[in-house]
Every structure is written in C-alpha cells, then in structure tokens.
Symmetry: C2
C-alpha cells in the first residue's frame, strides 16, 4: 500500500496551486453566484447529514481532494482497516475497532465478551447491591466511557470516573459513597498505568471490596484481586476502545440496550464508510476538508462546537482521538514530514461557548475552521448554531465581521445512543483517512513515552 | 495615552529582526551554555513564582520586549486601569475590577455589597433552609463562580450551575433537588440574557420560589420577583466580575471567609503589578512572552495545563478571559491590525492530558507554547509536570522528540483561595498588558452581537 509522501502525488502541487485562488475568496459571493451551493455541498449517510457548503472550496477543490485520496490509496487502506490487517505498522498490530461493533460478524471473543458484559450490566443495574460505580482509567480508558455516561446516563446508578493521579479526583468520585455499595472498574491494558493503579490502591485503602478489571494483563489483574476480568485486545487502540469492554462503566450508566444501539450506530457508519464513493463519503469528506484547511490553507486549529449539553464532553474526547492519532511529524517511512499534520482540536458546548470565545472566532486575527454539531430536535439551539455559522461565513455589511470563516454542520436527528455511535465512528474514520493522506500511522503514540521515563527518574531523585 | 500601532514602535522591527536569530535556537544549548539560566529567568511576586527559562528567548529578547512595553506606555496605561479611568473606550467605561478587591480602599458601594454578601452567605450556609443553590448565568456570570466553587467548594451546600439554553443543562443542575429547598441566583447585567432568562423561567415552572438576582437592571429583577437584588456595575466587565456579587454562588460554595481570601490574593497581585519593574513583573512578563510567541515567533495557540484536579476548569475560564478580551483584529484607533493578536487558548488538567493530546505537544508539526500550573504540595504531580516541560524543552538524543518547544511554569505553594485569587489576577493583568501592546481595547466584545441578532431573526422565521 502507498506509504510514499503525499507531496509526490500529482494532485498535491495541484491543490497547492489551487489554494492560491482561494486566499481572497468570499463565501458571500460563492453563495450569491451559485444558488445550488447549499444543496450541492451536503452529503448524507448512516442517518447523518454533513453540510460543508460554508467551507472555502468549490467543485474543483472537491475533485482534486478526491483525486488525492485515490492517489494515496484510500480504498485499499480502508479495506485493510476494515479487514483487520496489521496497519498499525510500528506496533505490528491491526486497528480493528470496527470488529467490536460488527454485530454477528464480530469475532467470537467479541461476541462472548459482549455477552458477559450484558450479564454483568443487567445484574448490576437490577440488583441494588451497588449504588455507585467508579471507573478507574485514564486516556482511552476514561474519555470514551465518560462521554457516553455523561451524554446518555440515566438515574439507575451513579457512575463516576477518576483519571488523574491527583487524589482529589478520586475524592470527588467517592463523595457520598460507601465501600460496601461501590463497584470499581479498573481499566488498564497493562495493569501498570501510574494513575489507574494509584487510584485502585487508594480505593482499596478506602475499604473497597468489589473490583472488576478490564485488562489484557490477566496475571496482574488476578494478582490485584479483581473478581471479574474482561479482556482488552492488542488489536484495539485505547482511543478506539469505547466499543469494547472498556465501555463497561458506560454500559452500567446507560443500560446494555442503549450500549448495543451505540454499537449499531457505529456499525452503520462503518458500512457507509466501506461503500460510499469518496465524494459522498462522510468521514472521507470531513477528512479531506480538514486536510484542505490544515495543509493547504494553513489553519492551525479546528474547533468542535456541539450545540447540546449532553455532548459537552465531545471536544475532550475528540482531543485525544485526533491529536494523539495525527499529532505527528514523522511519517510511516520514518521521514520528517514537510507539511502540517493534525491541527489543535478544541471547543466547547454551545450556546455557552458564544459567551466565551466566539469573539475570537468572529473577529480574531486567526481563522478557526469549525464543526458545529446540530441536534435537530431543539429549535432554539439550532437557531443559535445556524446564526453563528452564518455570521462566520457571511460577516456583516459594515465589515466589522469579516466573514468567509469556514465551518461545517453535522446534523443529528436527535441525541440518542445510535446517533452518538454514528458520530464517534464518523470522527474515527475521519482521523484514519487523514492519517492515510498525511502518510501517518494514526494508531501508535510514540510521543507519550519520554515523559513517563523522565517522571520516574525525577521521582526516584534522579534529577 | 499611546493608541498608535505597535509596529511604529522602535522596538517592534528590532524584535522582528531579533526573532530571525531564534528560529533555529535549541533550548538544550541555551541551558548548556548558561548555567544561570534556570535562576535568571525566574520571577517571583505576590507569593507566586514564574519560571520562563524554557522559553525560546534570551536576555536581549527580554530587554527588547521591556522596551516595547515602555514605548507602548504600559506604566501610564497601568495607572489608568488601576485608578478607574474609562479605558474601555468603545463603551466609555472604566475596567475597574481591581476596585472590587482593594480592601478598605474599595469604593463604598463595593464594601456595602460585600457586607450584604457576607450576611447572605453566612445565613444560607448556617440555616439549613436551602440544600441546593443553582446559579443561572452564562459567560462571565458563570465561568468564574463555577471555577471557584469547583476548585474550593466544601460539602456544606450543593452549588450547581446552568449556563446553556439547552434544558438538559438545567435538568442536571436540578437532579435530586426540591423546589422548597433550592435557591436560584439569577445573574445577568441586563436581566435579558437569552439563556439565563429561559432557565429562570423554567425554574419557576418547576416550582421554584426562592430567587436572588445579581443585575444592574434592578427594574427587571424586581419585576421578575427576586427577593434579594445585588448590584452589577458598568465599570466591571463580565469576564472580570467573579470578584463582585457575581461570585455569590461561589461564596455560598466555599464560604465567605475563603471568598475574602480569594479577594485578598487578587489584591496582592494587583499591588505587585502596580509596583514591580517590567522585567520583574509577573503579569507583564507573561504578557510579553505571549506576544513574543504569538506576534514574533508565529505561534497560533497557547495551552494552559494545570496539574491539579481542583483547577480542571481553569482552561475554560481562561478561554473566555483571553479570547473574548484579545481575540480582535481592529485596534483602538479603528484600524485593522497587521500582526497576530490573541492566540487560541486551550488546555486541560494534567496528568489526564498526558494520555490525551500531549502526543501532539511533543511531536506535532505545530509548536504550542504551554503554561504549566504547578501546585508544589504534590510530588507526583510536580514530577509529571516537570517531566513534560523537560521533554518538550530538551527532546531526546535520538531526535524522536525534537525538543525546543517552549513552556513556562507557574508555581503555587498550595491550592487555596488566596493563591487562586493571585492566579486569576495574574492572568487578568496579563490579558490587559497584551491589549496594551497590541493596541486593543480588551474590555469590549463587539464580536458577539451579530450572532444574537441573526439567531433572533431565524427564530422569528426571518430566514
């Protein structure tokens, strides 16, 4: 498969040249000159709608970007991803998170694990033995289940999360809890993660008796005394693992039925991704537009603005997904890249964001491409979202608002487990496609090791 | 006072030229060649320590930046700020938030209001009439008190916040609450803010009886039926108002004694800011280093990484403070600027951030200057923080980590109300100084109006 540099593709210099003609383009004019724009630059798939008409691009841009994707071998890479080939080349592993949500097509160990989860979750939620469930994990063992529980949790159980080595974090998670009615789920692939094991030890000191583990190091989990041990597989990366047993705390919070709908939503997006042509393929479009903004128009950041209180943790989730995957400067061939890769992803829940940093979005000296997430079921939120997107795009007559600031809108009909599954899978595949374009391995994280080594050295008095 | 363009200052082109010599500089070499660097590039004041030795700069840089501050008239502007002159020129108002924390030097109406707050807070916390206090406000009427309550709240009262027009937000704040034991504090200068008034109306429909108001529109607050109305003054901007009656919910959460310590900490920083020379002045240094990174070295973003679970909301607070203040492209004279102003501020709590986006900080193609916030009282957190700062600065021998990625460390001896007051005042004055350098009015927010107008139009079926 193609692991050459993207700058050697025919379409790369074409896009560089093409970008020149977009430096002074005005979105207002583009809409005025093309009445079909707001229909033409919209794609639908897997129940989601993606409106990219407010991006600084035209039909030729799209064609060139699609050419780039083809030249980069996207179809072949996509097939390799979806069939579980070891595309995580540095670690010689697959990145087969799609197998976690493939329904009856999932591998037997996935189906068995889902079955065990179902049994555990329905017992935990129906028996009243546990009033509190506390997830001890960090990074990929924290952000996904935390997002799901926060977005869709009901009042059956009080499910909380502790991710930091700061004892204050666990302290909050234990507020008002009693050891005999609290279940801890310790989530760590190696069962050696500093934060997680420190919190697990502190929980034991607090008097906790009930521990489940989600781990691949079964030995250590047994030694720790976990009464249930669910598997983690080396073919699932941490930041893609919410669909696995890592989602156990989330399933406790939302119920297993909703967790299955979440998986089903992800699966629908996978099927769309697997089959749709590039110019109609939501994650591919999203990825290519991101590459356009980052590598050709020079935008350093990307904002995600969910207009939904339930999705307030989405930006934090996506920060890991995108920046840990594509925040890299060395390509698959080991060479330093000569183009900009993953931008800084940031954002917050709207409407509160409007009263915080939108000033800069509208009138700052830098341009920040935005993804607005629109839940169609709330008129006031949708109107506010639309107003922001329009103000960014079209500005004001008096020039106080410059306009021509690009954004896309992702529409969800309503906020439920299925749509959340679709949405997260959308961003997962977007990240994958960008990695293919930029010639990055999106599935390792070599940049986090040095800090761990140095911290140990400092703690042992080494310096 | 100086409202000319900074590019007309003698030191501006000097700094531009000087920046060229820093493009290839390596922090490793700087430390190797100057054993005093880690002592020399540290400043102390108001009980805080600021270590900027890991910034890409030298003694000459500092001198040129200090010259720029002098040329920009920083001392005169600082005096104007602190004496309450109408430096918010577009709105013809003072930005006199320092008068809110001036102790016996505060204006009589401030002292009276603090007295009323003290009475209300001690009554609310000692009587057991209210179990829940819910703050209804958004932007500056939300982020500050939310941060304080989250960082320092005790278990006396359950204090919550709703800021969005999404009903789900208020729903969360009311979980488990009863109307007869819930006090609502409605915080809105005009008492017309869309989100806040929608939530206040919903609270009333829910059966709420007890409403306090913090407002300058006393008429509307009375009409609404608030039983206590505390003032907001037009000489305090929303994002600088946590020190005022806007902090009432926070004071309920942390107790009035701690709220007074918070004010006292802010005051200490004000006195330091008022008297220290530019090269020893913490907020001035922080501001100038930010200008150096943004306007001369071309960095588009700035990360704030508090290694403290108690400070997990600090980045969200600072996003408003910095980006609403200096996310502007038109200067005080009404001219479009030709240099980069306020960067995108983002960040999250460490250590969890290490397992999320630090990959990009270490190995991304863009460079992100960071502020690490170190609470000296926790060794493990401090060691992790130091390890990250060192890995960013010095990289690795094998070149996998490029190094020379700048950061500063702000040290707090412990996390308490006084230090939090110092820290927030530090960033406030940093923002002010940057506004002076960039010739911006940091105290208005013209960029938020158009969205409001368009949202109304869309809701009324206008388009």
């Amino acid at each position: 498969m193609n692991t050459t540099s993207p700058v050697d593709c025919k379409s790369w210099p074409q896009l560089q040249h093409h970008a020149e003609s977009w430096r002074e383009a005005r979105l207002k004019d583009l809409f005025a000159n093309d009445v079909a724009r707001s229909i033409q630059f919209v794609a639908e798939g897997a129940g989601l709608r993606y409106d990219y008409s407010r991006q600084l691009m035209g039909a030729i841009t799209l064609r060139l970007l699609a050419n780039l994707a083809t030249e980069r071998g996207l179809p072949e890479w996509r097939d390799a991803l979806l069939s579980g080939e070891p595309i995580n080349s540095s670690e010689k592993r697959a990145a087969w998170h799609t197998a976690l949500r493939a329904g009856k097509d999932s591998p037997p160990e996935v189906l068995q694990t889902l079955d065990r989860m179902k049994g555990l979750v329905s017992r935990i939620r129906s028996e009243k033995k546990f009033k509190r469930v506390v997830n001890l994990g960090t990074g990929g063992s924290d952000l996904g289940p935390r997002l799901l529980a926060d977005a869709l949790g009901d009042s059956t159980l009080d499910v909380r999360f502790a991710a930091s080595v700061d004892p204050h974090d666990l302290g909050r998670a234990l507020e008002g809890a009693e050891p005999q009615s609290t279940l801890f789920i310790v989530v760590s692939k190696t069962f050696t993660t500093q934060e997680t094991m420190a919190n697990a030890a502190a929980a034991r000191r607090w008097g906790a008796k009930a521990f489940y583990a989600v781990a691949s190091n079964v030995e250590e989990a047994k030694k720790f005394g976990a009464s249930e041990i669910l598997p983690m597989w080396d073919w699932v990366g941490g930041r893609f693992s919410v669909w696995s047993a890592v989602g156990l705390a989330a399933a406790c919070a939302i119920g297993f039925e909703k967790f299955e709908q979440f998986l089903a939503g992800g699966r629908e997006l996978d099927l769309h991704f697997a089959s749709a042509g590039i110019e109609k393929n939501l994650p591919a479009l999203m990825a290519l537009i991101g590459v356009w903004n980052t590598s050709f128009l020079g935008r350093a950041t990307h904002a995600v603005l969910p207009y939904s209180n339930a999705l307030r943790l989405l930006p934090a989730y996506l920060q890991q997904l995108e920046m840990e995957s594509n925040g890299k400067r060395v390509d698959r061939a080991g060479n330093e890249v000569t183009y900009s890769t993953g931008p800084v992803l940031w954002g917050a829940e709207g409407t509160p964001s409007q009263h915080s940093f939108h000033q800069l979005l509208h009138q700052g000296t830098g341009v920040v491409p935005c993804d607005f997430i629109d839940i169609a079921s709330n008129d006031v939120l949708s109107a506010n979202l639309r107003a922001q997107a329009d103000a960014l795009a079209f500005g004001s007559e008096d020039g106080q608002y410059p306009g021509s600031r690009p954004s896309s809108i992702v529409f969800l009909e309503k906020l439920d487990a299925r749509n959340l599954g679709r949405l997260l899978a959308l961003y997962e595949h977007k990240v994958f496609v960008q990695g293919i374009i930029w010639n990055l391995n999106s599935f390792d994280q070599p940049g986090v090791e040095l800090g761990k080594v140095l911290a140990k050295k400092i703690l042992s008095g080494g310096k």
